[in-house]
């Protein structure tokens, strides 16, 4: 079985984000990590590899520096890494990103494609389902459990108040929730392999069956009108009182606002 896992290098938003004086995101000063949902997707692929002997290829699109996450994935146990990088691909929205990745995937063999549900920088959850549409294969998003049975996958698909157990014929695309599993650590042997591993680097010319008009900033239907740091409503009063006074303070405010 051949599995391709799409992963993304993202700024670690947990520590907050930093801005350049012109208001754009200061990516250079922020730590980067492998997107958590993607890492769960990779772990799911590696478990299938452990169980059934799959070949796992990781695919990413980004700046040359994004090679780092491919090496991290290889250190965890992935077999090969493919980096798609080209100036003309920059500024892509989810349409152009999914077109780019679909163009790369058309050059690859796969039974199963796994992506994370969403990346923590954009939080859109759109690229996985859009890739599946471009490749004309089924998608099962929000996977919380995954197994293979013959030529099909059986997936628990999470909804708000329930889950569906779904069966899809391969090839198909799954988007993984971080809850799917606890990703493994890199192994010393894996890190050694990752150093030696040759990363395949593709540019625009290596993408199959994609028009220029669907790539990069120019191929993106959505355009940014305005971006800014979030303006919060600002703090009100903060008081330090002993417990009885503190309770009276809150009760007083609730009465003032006619809550009680």
């Amino acid at each position: 079985m051949k599995i391709v896992v799409c992963i993304k290098q993202v700024p670690d938003t947990k520590g907050g984000v930093k801005f350049n004086p012109d208001g754009t995101l200061d990516r250079a000063s922020m730590m980067t990590i492998m997107n958590p949902d993607d890492k769960a997707g990779l772990e799911a692929a590696l478990r299938l590899k452990d169980e059934y002997g799959a070949e796992v290829t990781v695919l990413t699109m980004g700046l040359p520096k994004a090679e780092e996450v491919l090496r991290e994935a290889i250190a965890m146990g992935a077999d090969k890494g493919v980096l798609v990088t080209d100036r003309v691909l920059g500024g892509a929205d989810t349409w152009a990103t999914s077109q780019t990745l679909a163009g790369a995937l058309r050059n690859m063999e796969y039974d199963l494609i796994i992506t994370g549900r969403q990346a923590i920088d954009g939080d859109t959850a759109q690229v996985g389902p859009q890739i599946s549409e471009h490749l004309n294969i089924p998608v099962i998003s929000y996977a919380q459990n995954l197994k293979v049975e013959g030529d099909s996958v059986i997936v628990e698909r999470q909804f708000d108040d329930r889950y569906h157990v779904l069966k899809a014929k391969m090839p198909c695309l799954i988007t993984a929730l971080a809850e799917l599993n606890e990703p493994r650590y890199m192994t010393p042997g894996g890190i050694f392999d990752a150093y030696k591993a040759e990363i395949t680097v593709w540019g625009r010319a290596d993408l199959k069956d994609v028009e220029d008009s669907n790539l990069g900033l120019k191929g993106s239907p959505t355009q940014i009108a305005k971006a800014s740091d979030k303006v919060r409503k600002g703090s009100g009063e903060v008081v330090t009182l002993d417990p009885a006074e503190a309770a009276s303070y809150i009760t007083g405010k609730l009465k003032e606002k006619h809550v009680i």
């Binding site: 959850a125 759109q126 089924p138 569906h164 979030k230 303070y249």
Partner: protein
């Protein structure tokens, strides 16, 4: 094909088990504002099996027209038949705006449909308005009027971006549940219904549903609660949530929690407020022992009144609280509960 051919604001009226999700009414409410600005109407698109009788409810919340695709293939949500139905409606009726709820269904359906019809999709919007693009004139660039300007948080709620889709139609957005306001229900309004069926031919993209497992829950949906008493890691233990439950009972509220509490296994996921949980905007939000990670704040900062109790005076939650108290929740809550009981008994 000219962009001006596309007319009207359309909303996807999500239903599950033949019950319309509240997001559908919220989208109609926002859709009415947009339609008024554009001088057009709101059409709800209702997909399902035996759902025709639900159309009037959509009209009662303001839908000017309801397009119903009623087919057994649409009984349970599956990506492909739903994507086929919605794409077919868009191709036939050519709306200028298509809104979908950013639910676990909408965030699967929206991208698949937008990719099929080749248009842009903006995820998880918290604000929608009609305006010019570019917002301020740019020399050498045409200013387009009457564009949908879609505003959404990104980078874990640290930034907000406003997005437009000037050259493709429909302009599509998924909209975060609990953010837009419904209109008041007008009982007895009858829907102007149009039935449409594009035909369904199962192919490789139709997945098979083997089983449907519903979560058993008897709690109030925290998104509907007027008062939320929300606890974080600072509550200390699952047993200690009793203090919050007592307060909630005294004030007529519902208990919710932060992600840390769900991760620790103290409370179920459906009570989680925040970026990866639910967005809430109750009248009163008590943040108790919640430090206020940005992802949490993103899910509750629109609450009318925020009361925070935390022992750490530097906790970020105080930056959004209207009334912040630095102190020990274990000592404050029992007194507060008694005072509230007394105040309500006196009324």
């Amino acid at each position: 094909m000219g962009l001006e051919e596309y007319k009207g604001v359309y909303v996807f009226a999500q239903q599950v088990d033949n019950v319309i999700n509240s997001i559908a009414f919220e989208l109609i409410g926002k859709g009415k504002d947009l339609a008024e600005a554009l001088g057009t109407q709101v059409t709800a698109v209702l997909l399902g099996s035996n759902v025709k009788n639900l159309a009037d409810e959509l009209a009662e919340y303001g839908a000017d027209k309801v397009i119903v695709v009623d087919d057994p293939e649409l009984k349970e949500y599956r990506t492909e038949p739903y994507a086929h139905a919605l794409s077919s409606v868009i191709e036939k009726y050519k709306p200028e705006i298509m809104l979908v709820g950013a639910t676990a269904i909408g965030r699967d359906l929206g991208p698949r449909v937008s990719a099929r019809i080749h248009t842009g999709l903006t995820a998880d919007c918290t604000q929608l308005e009609i305006g010019d693009f570019p917002i301020n004139p740019v020399p050498g660039k045409e200013t387009k009027h009457n564009q949908l300007l879609m505003t959404r948080p990104a980078f874990g709620g640290n930034t907000i971006a406003t997005i437009a889709c000037p050259d493709f139609r429909p302009q599509m957005a998924t909209v975060r549940p609990g953010v837009m306001q419904k209109r008041e229900r007008q009982e007895g309004v009858k829907a102007n219904v149009e039935e449409f069926n594009p035909g369904f031919t199962p192919d490789n993209k139709y997945v098979e549903i083997l089983e449907i497992v519903k979560a058993v829950t008897d709690t109030v949906d925290i998104m509907d609660a007027k008062i939320l008493v929300s606890g974080g890691r600072g509550v200390g233990s699952p047993e200690n949530f009793k203090l919050l439950e007592d307060l909630a009972e005294a004030i007529g509220g519902t208990v919710s929690c932060s992600r840390a509490v769900v991760d620790a296994g103290w409370k179920p996921k459906d009570l989680q407020v925040g970026q990866t949980g639910k967005t809430v905007r109750p009248h009163v939000y008590f943040a108790i022992g919640i430090s206020g990670a940005i992802q949490h704040i993103a899910g509750m900062e629109e609450s009318d009144i925020i009361v925070a109790i935390n022992k750490d005076e530097t906790a970020p939650i105080f930056s959004v609280a209207d009334y912040g108290v630095v102190g020990d929740l274990n000592k404050i809550l029992p007194v507060l509960t008694e005072q509230i009981k007394a105040a309500r008994a006196a009324n």
